[in-house]
Symmetry: C2
Subunit: 235 residues, 2 copies
DNA sequence: GCGTTTAAGCTTCCATGGAAGTTGGCATGC
DNA sequence: GCATGCCAACTTCCATGGAAGCTTAAACGC
C-alpha cells in the first residue's frame, strides 16, 4: 500500500497512551481538583470501577503517584490521598526556593540572545498578571503566574530541575488554590517578577538568584501565617 | 496466649518487606554496582528469573525505578539502564548545588544547640575524610564524604530535600565512582567542609549557603572537564 | 454488662495466561 | 547481490483469580 511509509523512530513518535498512563493522569487531575479530597481513602477496585478499567493499570498508576508523594498506600487497607500539613507547605517552599533560584541563575547565564528571549516571555506573563489583576480576575492571575514560574524552570535547560519543580508544584496545587482566595490581592508579585526578568535579561546572575529566592521567601512568609491563622491542620 | 500483646500501631511498626520492595532494592543496588551496566537492556522475565520471583513484583519495581530516573522501559522491547551523558552530570550538579546550599542555610538557621550538634558531626565526618586521605584509602574517603553530604540533607529538617538529594545521589553514584579514581587527590574538600561546618555552628546563614554552593561548584568544575578529557560519551 | 474470641468481608499482593506490539531473520522475487 | 514482505520469537501490557493480611463487629463465655 502506498500509505505504508517507513515509520522513522524518533523521540516525537506518537505513542498510544497506555491505560496506566491514562489512569495516572486522570488520578492526578482528580487529586488536583479535589475530586478526591485530601485524606480521602478508597480501594483500587473502586477507582478501577470508576475509571472503567481493570485493577492492574490503576495499581501501577498508584505506584507512580506514591513515588510523586501524592498518595500513600496503606498495606491491605486502601490508598489515601496525602493531606498537606502546614509543615509540608514549609518543606515545599524550601524546595521551590532552592530550585527556582538556581533556575534563575542558569537563565541569567544564558547567551545574550537566549536570555533576552526568555526575559521577553517572562515579562509578557507578568503583563498578563497585571492585566488580570486590574480586571479582578484571580483565576487568570493564577494562570499567568503559573506560566511565569513554569517558564523559569522550563527554559533553564535542566530537565531534572523541571521535573522536580513540576512534582513539587503538583503537591502544592491544592494549597495554592486555597490561599489564592484567602490572601490579599497579590499586587507585589508583578514588581518582583519584573526585577527577575530584568536581571535575567541583563545577565546579572547573582541578582537573578537573589530576586527569585526573595520572591518565594516573601510569598512563604505571607502564606504560612495565613494558613496558621485560619487554624487549618491539613488540606 | 501471654505473648499475644496488643500491637500498638506506630510509625516504627516493622512491616514485612514485600517482594516489590525487595526487587526495588536489589535492582537499585545492582545498577549502582554495575551488575547491570549503563545501557544494559534486558527483559523483566529475565530479571524475575534472576531474582527468583514472578514477573509482577519486578514489573512494579521497575515502574518505581523509572520514576527515579534510573531505568527506562522501552515499550515491548525491554527495560534499559539509563546511561549518564556529561550533560546529565551537569544537570545533576545543578540540582545538588541548589539543594545542598538550601539545606546548609536551614542548618545554620537552627537553634544554637541543634546546629552545634550537627556541626560537630559534620566535623567528625570531615576528620574521617582527612584520616582516610592520609592512609591513601580512597574508598574510606568516599564513604566519609558521603556521610558528610548525607548529614547536610538529613538534618536540615526537610524530608523532601532529603528525598530529592537521595534520588539524585543514586543517579550520580556511578559517575562518582568513576571520577574518584580519575581525579587528583581530593585534598581541598576538607577545608571547604570545615568552613561549612563552622558557618553552621556560628549560625551564619548566608555564609553556610555560600560555602555549600561553592564547594559543589568547584567539584563540578573539576570533574566535568575531567570527564570530557577522557572522551567518555556515557556511563 | 464486659472483655475476649472468632469469623466474615474488606483490602493489597502476587502469579499466571492471553492480547497486542516490536524485532530480526529468512524466504522470495528480481 | 539486494530490496521487500512475511513470519516466528520475544516483549510489555492488561485481566483475573487466589493468597495473605487488616478491620470490624457479631458471637460467646463469664
Amino acid at each position: 500500500m502506498a500509505s505504508k511509509v517507513k515509520q522513522v523512530r524518533t523521540a516525537a513518535t506518537v505513542r498510544k497512551p497506555s491505560l496506566v498512563e491514562d489512569a495516572y493522569r486522570a488520578l492526578k487531575d482528580a487529586i488536583r481538583d479535589n475530586v478526591f479530597p485530601p485524606g480521602y481513602q478508597g480501594s483500587e477496585q473502586e477507582i478501577a470501577l470508576r475509571l472503567g478499567m481493570s485493577r492492574t493499570p490503576v495499581h501501577e498508576a498508584i505506584i507512580r503517584l506514591q513515588e510523586d508523594g501524592l498518595v500513600r498506600v496503606l498495606s491491605k487497607r486502601g490508598v489515601q490521598v496525602c493531606p498537606l500539613s502546614p509543615d509540608d507547605i514549609r518543606e515545599i517552599y524550601d524546595v521551590v526556593i532552592a530550585i527556582e533560584a538556581r533556575a534563575a541563575e542558569l537563565l541569567a547565564a544564558l547567551p545574550l540572545e537566549a536570555r533576552s528571549q526568555v526575559a521577553k516571555e517572562l515579562e509578557e506573563a507578568t503583563a498578563r498578571m497585571e492585566q488580570a489583576l486590574r480586571r479582578d480576575d484571580l483565576h487568570a492571575w493564577a494562570t499567568a503566574d503559573d506560566q511565569f514560574h513554569r517558564l523559569l524552570v522550563e527554559r533553564c535547560g535542566n530537565s531534572r530541575i523541571l521535573r522536580i519543580a513540576q512534582t513539587i508544584t503538583d503537591q502544592a496545587h491544592r494549597a495554592r488554590m486555597l490561599t489564592l482566595r484567602l490572601r490579599s490581592k497579590p499586587t507585589g508579585s508583578a514588581a518582583a517578577h519584573r526585577a527577575m526578568a530584568e536581571a535575567i535579561r541583563t545577565g546579572q546572575v547573582a541578582e537573578a538568584h537573589h530576586q527569585a529566592r526573595q520572591h518565594r521567601i516573601d510569598a512563604r512568609d505571607e502564606l504560612l501565617p495565613l494558613i496558621a491563622s485560619v487554624g487549618i491542620k491539613h488540606l
